[in-house]
């Protein structure tokens, strides 16, 4: 069971309180009605699925109920940092604690 730092509760909390919500920083196109089939597939189906640093969304669903983002190493499962929804994508290098 992972231990996840909720940026809103500012505390490490057990994974049981959280729900993973997939890859982060995939914004719903403003003009979604107009985009092409290819663009829609990219937006809705295609994922980075990186081996290494992953930018992902979590919801503290059984805690403060907020969605937030995390940077995690998908090989070690270690979190490098978590940050609030809407904050811009930080640049972190593997191994370094942000």
């Amino acid at each position: 069971m992972l231990l996840i730092h909720c940026p809103y509760c500012d505390e490490d909390r057990p994974e049981l309180e959280f729900r993973n919500a997939g890859e982060a920083h995939i914004a719903r196109p403003e003009n979604i009605a107009e985009i092409s089939d290819e663009e829609f597939a990219q937006f809705f189906f295609i994922r980075t699925n990186p081996k290494g640093l992953i930018y992902e969304r979590w919801r503290h669903i059984h805690g403060c109920a907020r969605f937030f983002n995390a940077v995690r190493d998908s090989v070690s499962d270690k979190f490098l940092m978590t940050y609030k929804a809407g904050e811009k994508r930080p640049t972190v290098k593997a191994g370094e604690k942000a």
Binding site: I32, D37, F44, G86
Partner: protein, 997 residues
Amino acid sequence: MTAAFRTTAAGRLKGAKPVKISFDGASYAALEGDTLASALLANGVHLMGRSFKYHRPRGVLSAGAEEPNALVGIHRDAARKTPNVRATVQEVYDGLTAVSQNRWPSLAFDVGAVNDIASPMFSAGFYYKTFMWPKAAWKSVYEPTIRASAGLGVAPDKPDPDHYASRYAHCDVLVLGGGAAGLSAALAAAETGARVIIADEQPAVGGALRFETGSTIDSAAGWDWAQATAVKLAAMDNVRVLTRTTAFGYYAQNMVGLVERVSDHLADPGHDLPRERLWQVRAKRVIIATGAIERHMVFDGNDKPGVMLASAGRTYLNHFGVLVGKNVGVFTASDSAYAAAIDLKQAGASIAAIVDLRDNPAGPLIDQARALGIEILSGRTLVRASGNLRVASMTVRATSGGPERTIPVDALLMSAGWTPSVHLFSQSRGKVAFDSATRRFLPGDYAQDCVSVGACSGTDTLADTVKDAVAAGEKAAKAAGLAKTVGTKVKAETSESWAGGMVGAAPGAGPDTTGKAFVDFQNDVTAKDIRLAVREGMRSIEHVKRFTTNGMATDQGKTSNIHGLAIAAEALGKEMPEVGLTTFRAPYTPVTFGSLVNHSKGRLFDPTRRTPFHAQEEKLGAVFEDVGQWKRAWYYPRAGEDMHAAVNRECATVRKAAGIFDASTLGKIEVVGPDAAKFMELMYTNPWEKLESGRCRYGIMLREDGFIYDDGVVGRLAADRFHVTTTTGGAARVMNHMEDYLQTEFPHLDVWLTSISEQWAVIAVQGPKSRDIIAPLVEGIDMSDGAMPHMSVREGKICGVPTRLFRMSFTGERGFEINVPADYAAAVWDAVWAQGQKHGACAYGTEAMHVLRAEKGYIIVGQDTDGTVTPQDAGLDWAVGKKKTDFVGIRGLKRPDLVAKGRKQLVGLRTKDPKVVLEEGAQIVADPKQPIPMKMLGHVTSSYWSENCGRSIALGVVTGGFERMGQTLYVPMPDKVIEVEVVGQVFFDEKGERLHG
């Protein structure tokens, strides 16, 4: 009477209470504090089990958790039968009943032992090479035979009456292992004030001090110091000392799983004591102090009962006061076995000889052994141990070869040195490093906030161990945020060292030899088998392991892994690390399912959700169905009615008079804020901005991919307030879906969502009499058609309590849904029921609800749709706002395959024979005569007998269904083909007049 091999010369059970135990029906005297193994050995019983493949007679190898041989069944009573229990771990209690396993008819005479004679045929992996001809014989003969011979013990055949407890715990420093290292580390950490948990698998702390009687710590005997330290620790309120507690798994971010055996050692645990307790500990720092496990020597006959690890023989003597033999041989490659020989000699056993692979062993222990007149045969190897059900002799020759000499023995102690227990370190995903000097694997790079101390990190002497451990304890506490250090001091001395030893087959069990030199005892893997695996091209240790099953028995290779690796490496001509080390997988020792399940069984397996009307419905004789976690009233049979009759009556009554239905399980969400309508526009396909306060609308929610996700009636209570309903199954899902969009895509909107599913209990009153029934109970609401038309909502009071009263219908009749605060629900139901009786109303359940809505062609999301259906497919195109420029799913809907011709569309199905009711899930074809595989056009999604229509009705999805109106299609069943006509979705009151009439 005391047992024959119990000595007064040593041991710690003096004065312990005598108890009686039984093994395979024979009764034996034992002492409290014994393990089953020590008790049987005290009675001269060495034969305790049979091996897996060859059914060879086996005794104890060890005195601990690494035991591969002495596995028995423990039978408390008919329901409390536990297979594969290690006799070396099971503590005795008065009346303990144990039975041997994997033998027939008896342990001493086992027919299965014929496998041992035929063993040349049963080489490693032989089964992959045969049993293939004739093909048919595999299923009928070979496989049943193979399976019949599988397994050791017998699985219980009754539900487990015991209960198990669970505890989450958190600490600064978790110490795994209660030997000298663990205790020193725990003490140092605890004295800084850190929150400390220390766990040890034995009934008492002490670890190797249990048998290492030569050591002193803080000028006390090592064992006594350990017990005193445990008492001191337990008295500190920042410390928890857990004995009989095994750390079985090391998980991410310092979560460690411990299982505590609470009552398996008690004669009468009583009712409240759990059998075991699962601890899930989250620690800031972990100190691994798991010690080392002695290796056996790999030579022909090393599995004979009476042949055991030197430390085991020493434990039985120094702790349990049991002599494992009267004339004992020793075979070693290091010093530590000498200590065993010395202890046994001093306790009155004669030592036949110490066979030492080394040419010139030297040191205080060797001198002491000589001084005691023990014959030391150095530079010699042991080529064979002989004996049938017990070792009778050992055959010795020079390591270089030459003449053999056979020496009679009744027990044989062996030591190939010590293997650091890196299991938990490895589970923590740390990388072990090979120390080529000592040819052992030690903790290398750490992956988590933990450290290994003592023998498990390769420290060979007690003095260094406690020194390192104290430092580690203080460091861990500091790292966990404890500032003060008190400079804990622990000082230890001993003349013993765990250095030295050898890995692999002993001289005399080399590649050219034919005897059975066991590497893995339980799975009967010999040195020969390992070499065969290499010969067959297995170059990775993982392949060798899987091909030979070395290390895959219940002991998980605690004694065999390193030997196996060394023999494979030798055969490949490589160094051990080049062949690899099998990674250690949790659990460290087997863990009872029950302890992992603990409370989550029976009523706590999964929550059972009941509505506030449940008691009322039970009174009315409702039969309930499971809908997700909910119990919903399914139908209300009256005397003499079966389900069919009850449902028919309920359906007819609703349309004739009225019906009362519990709709409480539907999800409800209150959407509040100035941008509420804007938000609704985005989440649903329908338009909402123009919906007036006090009015309702049926809404459809899509996923971004355009498929129907949920639906429900939404009431607008005010400009800035909507009362949204969802499907029962969708309640949580929809809430999360809405929050996701609100928080991450549309955070600029001023709106909040609150689940009110359980705030409001809902009574649906449906039917021509519905208004007459409710009106008398309602205050402050004009229920006339003019003031309150179909699809409207009002707030007022009913039975004097607040209500949100909806006029809506899922039956096609005039209907109302009364929302009341849940704690008032029962009272309101009773009042409505009393009124209903005056008008001939009845209660109806979910089955009648399904029939009634199907008569009207109303869909049920999840039954008539399945996640691949669009609003157009379902005939709900009208509910998609054509002028809208955005809503979730708007783009997905336009994808090529979703607008393509020939999609499956929801239509009505009318059987040619009105009496025939289609089976839900049945498939639909155009040509029933076509050969298999048939081209299927779709399937029946809903199908019922409709009392109101006087015939069967059905809905189904059919390829191009809307263009097939009037067509005849076919539903092929196993026994017959059913003819159906494609019709519209509505079977009853097509004009919909009854909604208002």
